[in-house]
């Protein structure tokens, strides 16, 4: 009887931390535009203390991460986002 079960030892162990080949959620054609007024979108990339989450965690491309950081800083200047949340 042919063994249909995949050989368990061959399956690569997927480490939970590494977001491998995850496409950047902000680039691509129907991605939302980064805008300092869009606090709902920016909040998704802020920690609960209000700090910008590093791109290695959110797997955002470096170009978009720079735009994101600039938008967050502008929103903070215009009191749309807090500098720190305690």
């Amino acid at each position: 009887m042919k063994n249909f079960l995949p050989d368990i030892t061959q399956i690569p162990i997927r480490s939970p931390f590494l977001k491998r080949k995850k496409s950047c959620p902000l680039s691509g054609e129907n991605a939302p535009k980064i805008d300092y007024k869009d606090t709902k979108l920016l909040k998704k990339y802020l920690s609960e203390r209000g700090k910008i989450i590093p791109s290695r965690v959110t797997s955002v491309s470096s170009k978009k991460q720079r735009e994101l950081a600039q938008a967050v800083k502008r929103a903070r200047f215009m009191a749309l986002l807090p500098y720190k949340m305690d």
Binding site: D35, Y36, K37, D38, K40, R74, F77, M78, Y83
Partner: protein, 125 residues
């Protein structure tokens, strides 16, 4: 190169987005007057205001010189840089303005900004 031919095709005019926060004690009518003053400055200098928007009295994320709330207003103008300098000079002199920001944008649109769009329909992310 695109900046250069942009310069030739449209002269030195470019698109700016100006957002300012007015003190909460100020009446919305006065915020309208401030916006009209800016419109006058822009039209005097040959630019034109494409779109204006009033976000209402919003709660600030942190206190700006003792006020918790502020009237937010947005203007999208097509003008030269000297007009923007003039607008910012006027805004600095005006005590009712808590804070303002002027941003050069690539394209300009007449649709409502994200601030009004999201409040109109509750889009679920």
């Amino acid at each position: 190169m695109n900046a250069l031919n942009l310069l030739f095709t449209r002269g030195t005019m470019s698109y700016y987005e100006h957002v300012f926060i007015a003190r909460p004690e100020v009446a919305p009518q006065q915020v309208e007057n401030i916006v009209d003053d800016i419109k006058k400055i822009v039209s005097d200098d040959g630019g034109d205001t494409i779109y204006t928007e009033y976000w209402g009295l919003k709660k600030l994320a942190y206190k700006i010189n003792k006020s918790e709330k502020g009237h937010y207003s947005l203007l999208r103008i097509d003008s030269s840089s000297s007009t923007v300098n003039e607008i910012e000079r006027i805004q600095k002199l005006n005590e009712d303005i808590l804070r303002f920001i002027t941003i050069k944008t690539e394209e300009i649109s007449k649709e409502p900004s994200v601030m009004l769009k999201s409040s109109e329909k509750k889009d679920v992310y």
